[in-house]
């Protein structure tokens, strides 16, 4: 029989990796089980935006602390994930968007995000690459972006250095509650842990199902586009009032265009197809904001899965009816806030009082059958 760990983490995205890292640094023996490679799903293929202006109001205090963690990654993570801290703009092109922006920026500001509303002329000074038609902009200095595809490389090194037992390319297929712990069934045998963390992104729904817990998770299929390298055409991270655009140019010259336009796919098949009309719509929005993007060519488009709960707020906390078992996922705009929220959960797993409240899942459970 295999050895027992203090903590077994199922899922190697940024939630699972961050919780595993801080739990290991807190003195626990940790195993991390990942079906593929680290941060190859949502955590590695998202647009990398770190912004207050697309973050849900309730998450702003978390996102601000997470932003500081991202910016400081070389120090606490020990490895670079290509974070650029820069100005962020959220644009309004119509009267309706203007009203939406004023309302949303106001509420985010109340929650602590340093967003101010500026005129089109002021916005043009912040971002000389802007096209015409801007009526109003939200301006935030605490924005930026990471290079999402570097996340897995960085975490892998950090986790190994922290002594975490990494089990990549190992698929979990079930969980058996033991007296005082859990056994996670995998393709290479059972992995036992005194404590358990389920951090499987869109797959937390079937994983919680192994414990008889029903937590419905909606699967979003977000389309993304990246251009080939191009001369510098923008210096900010850009969005629009409705949240349906994210745009930033990386230091090496490529620009990533996102915003959550939906492609075709599901939990079982992944992102299957990018729908051409929506791809064109997304790209039109990008070119409307930054006209010089029209000079570039699209190098690649892809789709990543995002998990969303019924109230679009995170599922982070203990699993009711299952002592020492926890879940971490569905953090809306989770890439920005995910690091900090997963670290809070690690504190809880280490029996420390988290600095800010978690997001217990009791509110979301359709049916709970306690074991």
């Amino acid at each position: 029989m295999s050895r027992a760990f203090d903590l077994v983490v199922v899922g190697g995205g940024i939630h699972g990796c961050t919780a595993a890292l801080f739990a290991a640094r807190g003195g626990l023996s940790v195993a991390l089980i990942e079906r593929g490679a680290l941060c190859r799903e949502a955590s590695g293929v998202n647009a990398g935006t770190l912004t207050m202006q697309m973050t849900r109001v309730a998450l702003i205090p978390y996102a601000l602390r997470a932003h500081a963690m991202w910016a400081d990654a070389p120090n606490w993570l020990g490895h670079d994930v290509g974070v650029v801290v820069c100005d962020g703009l959220s644009l309004a092109f119509t009267e309706h968007e203007e009203a939406l922006l004023a309302d949303r920026a106001g509420k985010r500001r109340e929650a602590g995000a340093p967003i101010e509303l500026i005129t089109a002329d002021q916005a043009k000074q912040v971002e000389p690459g802007l096209g015409p038609g801007v009526r109003l902009a939200g301006y935030c200095k605490v924005d930026g972006f990471a290079n999402a595809y570097l996340t897995g490389v960085a975490f892998r090194k950090a986790l190994l250095e922290a002594g975490v037992t990494l089990m990549e390319r190992t698929e979990a297929s079930g969980i058996d509650p033991l007296g005082g712990g859990y056994a996670v069934k995998t393709t290479t045998g059972a992995v036992r842990g005194r404590k358990l963390l389920i951090a499987g992104g869109v797959w937390i729904e079937p994983m919680l199902g192994w414990l008889g817990v029903r937590l419905p998770i909606k699967v979003l299929v977000n389309q993304l586009v990246v251009t080939e390298r191009q001369r510098p055409v923008m210096r900010t991270v850009l969005g629009i009032a409705s949240g349906l655009l994210s745009l930033k140019q990386y230091p090496h010259g490529t620009t990533v265009i996102g915003g959550g336009w939906q492609g075709e796919g599901d939990r079982d098949r992944g992102g299957v197809a990018l729908l051409p009309d929506r791809l064109i719509g997304n790209v039109r929005l990008a070119c409307h904001a930054i006209p010089a993007l029209a000079e570039a060519r699209i190098a690649r488009a892809w789709a990543g899965l995002e998990a969303e709960t019924a109230d679009a707020l995170p599922a982070v906390g203990p699993i009711p009816g299952h002592p020492d078992a926890y879940v971490c996922g569905s953090v809306h705009s989770g890439y920005t806030s995910g690091l900090y929220i997963a670290r809070l959960l690690a504190d809880r797993i280490l029996d420390r009082e988290p600095e800010l409240p978690l997001f217990p899942i009791d509110r979301l459970l359709a049916v709970t059958e306690t074991a």
Binding site: G36, R40, G152, G260, A273, D277, G281, A294, I298
Partner: protein, 492 residues
């Protein structure tokens, strides 16, 4: 007509064919003869593909059998009812089955001179051809190093040569054809280096003797190059190309049957260009994107979609023919095109089984069977040689778009970039504008070597749009902000 703002006009046809080379054009003509509405798309300005490439820009073209065959195909296409959309770059193909899932369907989007063109059809024929393989060596990214296939484009379409004194190296039938073409164009060719061990392969192979006309042409190319004074070096490959800013010197050396360098004298030639190619790989991006089943075939150029006797892939209604479905050359491509044309015609309900069409099927199938030995012999000459890939030096750039060296790739694999997609994330290899077309075959082989796994286990990069890099400006066209179908705002 009422248009939904921001949505594309999608025209419906019976058959969409992508690629107007011998395979695609033949399939399109055949289907149209059967009364089907066919649209044929190609990014080039005329049909003919690579093998029968049309001259452009007022260049009259050469007088050889390929030029004549190309002109004949273009005339037949012109006379047919096929709607040809040249200068159209297909960037998106998605499945568009009927809502009940019973009837297959495809939507194809292409950027052309008049903006984006959207088509829908229940049958899609892929005849997307091949990409050239160049196995990296020191100096392969220098200006003046040109692919064998690229050199044939220059010669056939423009009547241009890549240099004044040009070394020709690599393998396969193009090698001698290009060498002879350059000599005929008045270019000095100091050396021709063939990876194959014997130069007289054309005359020696029984399969080749089944095609006496082609064997004679091959012998003629060989003789023309040799008579011009070129050093004919069999069993030799390029060690390196040298020069401060462009090719000035090409160093050749002996290799074994697997393309691995042998000890032996290196021979250096002064030259201002090097034309080099190591065979062809299949351009199977569409079948990959649509998740059809593929298998790995070293003989036929790498990953190929599985097809049945009708050339239908594992995706119903999706056909794959020509070199994109396996490197088998023009004759098989043309026959496969005819076969698919007949099949589409029969499926449309016009089948006269046992009558004229029935005998047509039999005749094409018979010709296909006869053509295979010669085709396989040619494919064998162009297959990737594992030893040549194993020999790539650590500091040689493998991914030229992103400047990723072999050492960086090996290091990433050792650091657990254990899948071909993860390797991209670790190194940016394959993430540039060539979308992995140039380096993919080499990188997959490097990973297979490093992990000591078969190529099947290493797999291939996930297929993603756009099928070719497409400019944002062309794609978005003229638009009003109000016409962008922006979804409802995300929750606050």
């Amino acid at each position: 007509m009422n248009r939904v703002p921001g949505s594309s006009d999608v025209s419906s046809v019976d058959v969409i064919v992508i690629g107007a080379g011998p395979a695609g054009a033949e399939a399109a003509i055949g289907a149209a003869e059967g009364g089907l509405a066919v649209t044929l798309l190609d990014e080039q300005g005329a049909s003919g593909g690579q093998v029968w490439r049309a001259p452009v820009g007022g260049y009259p073209g050469k007088r050889d059998p390929e030029a004549a065959a190309g002109a004949a195909l273009r005339a037949r296409l012109q006379a047919s009812a096929v709607r040809a959309a040249f200068g159209h770059r297909v960037w998106s193909v998605v499945r568009d089955d009927s809502p009940d899932g019973l009837t297959p369907g495809f939507r194809v989007d292409a950027v052309g001179p008049h903006g984006n063109l959207s088509l829908r059809a229940p049958a899609l024929v892929l005849a997307t051809g091949a990409h050239e393989r160049v196995v990296p060596f020191p100096g392969w990214t220098l200006p003046g190093v040109v692919g064998l296939a690229a050199a044939t484009v220059l010669l056939k379409s423009h009547g241009l040569a890549p240099g004044r004194r040009v070394v020709v190296a690599g393998c396969g039938p193009l090698l001698l054809a290009v060498a002879a073409g350059l000599v005929k164009a008045g270019v000095e060719v100091p050396a021709v280096a063939d990876l194959s061990r014997r130069f007289d392969w054309l005359a020696r192979m029984p399969a080749v003797l089944g095609r006496p006309a082609l064997a004679a042409r091959g012998a003629g190319w060989c003789a023309r190059a040799a008579l011009s004074g070129a050093r004919m070096l069999s069993g030799h490959g390029v060690r390196r190309a040298e020069g401060p800013e462009g090719v000035e010197r090409v160093v050749l050396g002996p290799v074994d049957a697997q393309g691995r360098a042998l000890s032996g004298p290196e021979i250096a030639f002064e030259a201002d260009a090097l034309v080099v190619g190591h065979g062809l790989t299949t351009a199977c991006e569409v079948t990959r994107m649509l998740r059809a089943t593929h298998r790995f075939s070293r003989l036929y150029g790498g990953w190929i979609p599985e097809v049945d006797e009708h050339f239908e892939t594992t995706v119903p209604g999706l056909f794959a023919i020509g070199d994109g479905a396996g490197i088998r050359g023009q004759q098989i491509a043309s026959l496969a095109g005819r076969r698919v044309g007949l099949e589409l015609w029969a499926r449309a309900g016009h089948a006269d089984v046992g009558g004229r069409r029935g005998s047509d099927f039999e005749s094409v199938d018979r010709q296909l069977a006869r053509a295979r030995p010669f085709s396989d012999a040619m494919s064998g000459l162009m297959a990737q040689r594992a030893g040549q890939v194993a020999d790539i030096a650590p500091d040689t750039v493998v991914c030229r778009c992103e400047d990723v060296t072999r050492a960086e790739i090996d290091t990433a694999i050792d650091q657990s970039a254990g899948s071909i997609d993860q390797l991209k994330h670790f190194t940016r290899c394959g993430m540039g504008p060539c979308q992995g077309r140039y380096c993919g075959d080499t990188v997959q082989e490097l990973m297979a070597l490093r992990l000591q796994e078969p190529r099947e286990a290493v797999g291939q990069w996930t297929g993603r749009p756009p099928l070719r890099p497409v400019s944002l400006g062309e794609l978005v066209g003229e638009f009003n902000y109000d016409d962008i179908p922006i979804p409802k705002p995300a929750p606050l």
